[in-house]
């Protein structure tokens, strides 16, 4: 069930109405059933996996919490990690490593086809992992109620593509009895409307330019490939942050505040800043459970830099079992380390804001091309074309082959609207005019609603991050 599908538009009001009609203790049980139905609609068999892994984590966390023996606690944690990472490995990486091994060693065995990855697998396993590690680290006691814990893992707005919510942020909200009057309707409306606009108008329309180019990279010059790379930057951001916005907005209908996941990352002026604004919930997860687990910065200088590189490499691999993702992670790791060295050597160094922004966008575009390329051959070809056969003169003619000029103009307009709205939030430009604000904000959102109906792509495209 996709947020941008008709079935969800029927599902949500039903769940909302039933939730608020039920008495306190029954609400979470109902929400759990609704969340499982939401997941069941993707693939019924994978619901068993979700229930199995989260149920196991609940009992293991209880054992960790109740045990005084350090070795036993560690053993239970290892079992939890192995089960979660094992499931991730089987579904996401086994075939990748198996096929790579066969290719490397020239084995006669036949290559395997890829498996279907359960939607949102890494999101809910990451939540479970964070919970058991935190219990192990004595951050909090294990939960007493199985159903509450299962709901924490599977709460439908964020289950499939995040944000990855921490136990101590979501569980207190699930434990208290919510009051209907506390629903923040304005936030719900703004977040969902803007989220749908970003997904259906911006991301899905840009996809119709990006997809044909990346599917046939050999037909295009370096300039078109670079521009399409930039369009993909906007597409991914609009798609994923759009999902997060809708998830956060929908959660508000149940009185739940999900954590902020995106803080206008495309306005960053360095890679360091970018990673404090981009996909915050997953970035902080990698920081807290991988980077710190590796020793963080409390190790030798070289080991510290290696830790940074490893975290990016693993986060690249987390996105998918393909060498292109490894290249993406490695590029980010290398540039992040270079920035770290510069900032450490020149603590007062500050590049002009505009130059910093151009640098970030250029690097982000070039690296995200690795993220989007279908395979290493395509990636090599794209980089070669960008740096050796740029041919800006061919750009317009090649774009005309992909789409008509009116559609390209519209896509330009969508990007402009996105950047202007975010610039307004970043620099509080229009907010200075107090009287004006009460007019333009409603007017803007009314226009956005109507434009979703006419400009939106209603072919219910999957959200990009479901596959991760």
């Amino acid at each position: 069930m996709l947020f941008n599908s008709l079935i969800f538009i029927l599902f949500l009001p039903c769940v909302f109405a039933a939730y608020w009609l039920l008495k306190g203790p029954w609400r979470n049980l109902f929400l759990l059933a609704a969340s499982y139905y939401f997941y069941f609609s993707y693939n019924p068999w994978f619901l068993l996996l979700l229930v199995g892994t989260s149920g196991l984590d609940y009992y293991l966390a209880k054992l960790i919490s109740n045990s005084e023996n350090h070795k036993a606690r560690k053993l239970f944690l290892v079992i939890s990690l192995v089960s979660n990472i094992g499931v991730l490995f089987i579904f996401k990486y086994f075939i990748f490593f198996y096929n790579t091994g066969i290719t490397l060693f020239n084995s006669q065995a036949s290559l395997l086809n890829s498996l279907i990855i359960p939607a949102g697998l890494s999101f809910y396993t990451f939540q479970s992992i964070s919970y058991t590690i935190d219990v192990y680290r004595n951050k909090y006691k294990a939960d007493d109620t199985l159903t509450d814990f299962l709901l924490y893992v599977s709460f439908f707005p964020h289950m499939v593509a995040g944000p990855v919510v921490r136990y101590n942020s979501l569980m207190p909200q699930l434990k208290i009895v919510q009051h209907f009057k506390t629903i923040n309707w304005e936030a719900f409306a703004k977040l969902t409307i803007w989220g749908f606009f970003k997904k259906m108008v911006i991301a899905d329309n840009l996809s119709s330019i990006v997809t044909p180019v990346f599917n046939n990279v050999r037909d295009y010059s370096g300039s078109t490939l670079l521009l399409t790379g930039f369009l993909f930057v906007v597409q991914v951001y609009a798609d994923f942050s759009g999902y997060s916005d809708i998830a956060t907005g929908v959660a508000k209908l149940f009185g739940i505040n999900l954590s902020l996941n995106w803080r206008r990352p495309l306005f960053s002026k360095s890679l360091h800043e970018f990673w404090t604004r981009n996909h915050i919930s997953i970035t902080t997860w990698f920081r807290d459970y991988l980077y710190i687990g590796l020793g963080g910065n409390r190790v030798s200088y070289n080991r510290w830099l290696l830790n940074i590189f490893l975290v990016f490499l693993i986060s690249g691999l987390w996105h998918g079992a393909n060498f292109t993702f490894v290249v993406w992670g490695a590029l980010h790791g290398i540039v992040f380390i270079i920035e770290t060295i510069i900032f450490k050597k020149f603590p007062n160094f500050k590049a002009p804001a505009f130059l910093g922004w151009v640098y970030l966008i250029t690097f982000h575009t070039l690296s995200l091309i690795a993220f989007r390329a279908l395979n290493m051959n395509d990636l090599e070809y794209i980089y070669l074309k960008i740096f050796t056969a740029f041919h800006p003169g061919l750009l317009m003619a090649e774009l005309a082959q992909i789409s008509n000029s009116f559609f390209l103009l519209l896509c330009g307009l969508f990007i402009l609207i996105l950047f202007l709205k975010e610039a307004n939030e970043e620099y509080a430009m229009l907010n200075r005019f107090k009287g004006f604000e009460s007019f333009y904000k409603p007017a803007f959102f009314i226009l956005v609603v109507v434009s979703i109906f006419i400009l939106g792509n209603f072919k219910a495209n999957q959200f990009i991050y479901f596959q991760f």
Binding site: E186, N205, N404, F406, L410, P442, V450, F453, I454, L455
Partner: protein, 310 residues
């Protein structure tokens, strides 16, 4: 908060309906191209004495100007993309709401899709501007019940119109023409589209004339008899690879011949015309001829028409 919500929702509804009106009126304002063709078919008063009915094959294969110059007829090409026989009948009935009943009707019989039944209308948003034609609306509503929503619910219809309709709507208001508008003459589409894709793939199957096709063929025949219009069956050429696609093609054609014979109707069968079907340059794909092929075919049916005893 509730008051605000009601006001904003009201404004959204008003804006959506205003936008829908703007789009539909813009499309109706087109003086060229496919929307002008549909304007002529469903809203304007016409006095053409001949009508070409059928699918995109009729639309692209019968050059009405050429036909008129060779036969002295005054023809409009009412072929519409994706039309089944049922849709062709709906188009005919909708046409005569505002226009004079034509004296002659050429009906393109598509042997390769005669087994299909009509569950929806191909490219249906194109018809939204013309739903004020009550016959068109009621016929299409029977085929696809969503047409009730398309007519009255802006929130349901707008997403289907989407971006592809904005440009022609603006063109309509601004009096400009679109990329393919000039390719239309009296409903005939001059097909000069040549791309690098291979559209000549084949997939063999057994065809037949479905109950629905037969029922609406009879309806068209009855309409023509009742209104003293001369009905002519035509079968335009299909590329050689398409000849092998429908494994029992000859059997289906025989059935059409039989229907024509029983009803005393002429049938101009050029579906396997050896002068055309072997030449790939005449075709865009298996079933659609390019302009050059269309002209040769039009000449042939014009000659046949002139040879019919009056």
């Amino acid at each position: 908060m509730i008051k605000k919500g009601i006001i904003y929702t009201g404004l959204v509804i008003i804006l959506a309906y205003a936008l829908q009106w703007f789009m539909l009126a813009g499309l109706r304002h087109n003086a060229q191209g496919v929307y002008d063709k549909y304007n002529t078919l469903f809203l304007k008063k016409n006095s053409y004495n001949t009508l070409i009915l059928g699918s995109s094959r009729a639309e692209m294969h019968t050059d009405v100007r050429l036909l008129d110059s060779l036969t002295g007829l005054n023809t409009f090409n009412a072929g519409v993309s994706g039309a089944t026989t049922r849709m062709a009948y709906a188009v005919l009935k909708s046409y005569v709401v505002n226009s004079k009943i034509p004296k002659t009707i050429f009906l393109e019989c598509d042997f390769h899709i005669s087994h299909l039944s009509t569950d929806t209308i191909f490219n249906f948003p194109r018809y939204f501007p013309y739903l004020s034609n009550q016959v068109l609306y009621s016929e299409f509503k029977q085929i696809d019940p969503r047409f009730r929503q398309f007519k009255y619910n802006a929130f349901y219809g707008l997403p289907y119109m989407g971006i592809p309709c904005i440009n022609p709507a603006l063109n309509g208001w601004l009096g400009k023409s679109g990329k393919y508008d000039a390719f239309y003459t009296n409903g005939f589409f001059k097909n000069t589209v040549i791309d690098h894709y291979d559209h000549f793939n084949t997939k063999t199957y057994y065809g037949y004339i479905s109950k629905e096709t037969r029922q609406y063929l009879d309806s068209i025949i009855l309409f023509c008899k009742t209104n003293s219009a001369r009905l002519i069956f035509t079968m335009s050429p299909a590329y050689i690879s398409a000849q092998k696609e429908v494994l029992n093609k000859q059997h289906i054609i025989e059935q059409y011949k039989n229907i024509a014979f029983i009803n005393h109707l002429p049938l101009f069968n050029y579906s396997d015309d050896s002068g055309i079907i072997y030449n790939k340059h005449y075709f865009e794909d298996n079933y659609h001829m390019l302009y050059e092929g269309a002209r040769i075919y039009t000449r042939k049916i014009a000659t046949d028409f002139n040879n019919i005893p009056r």
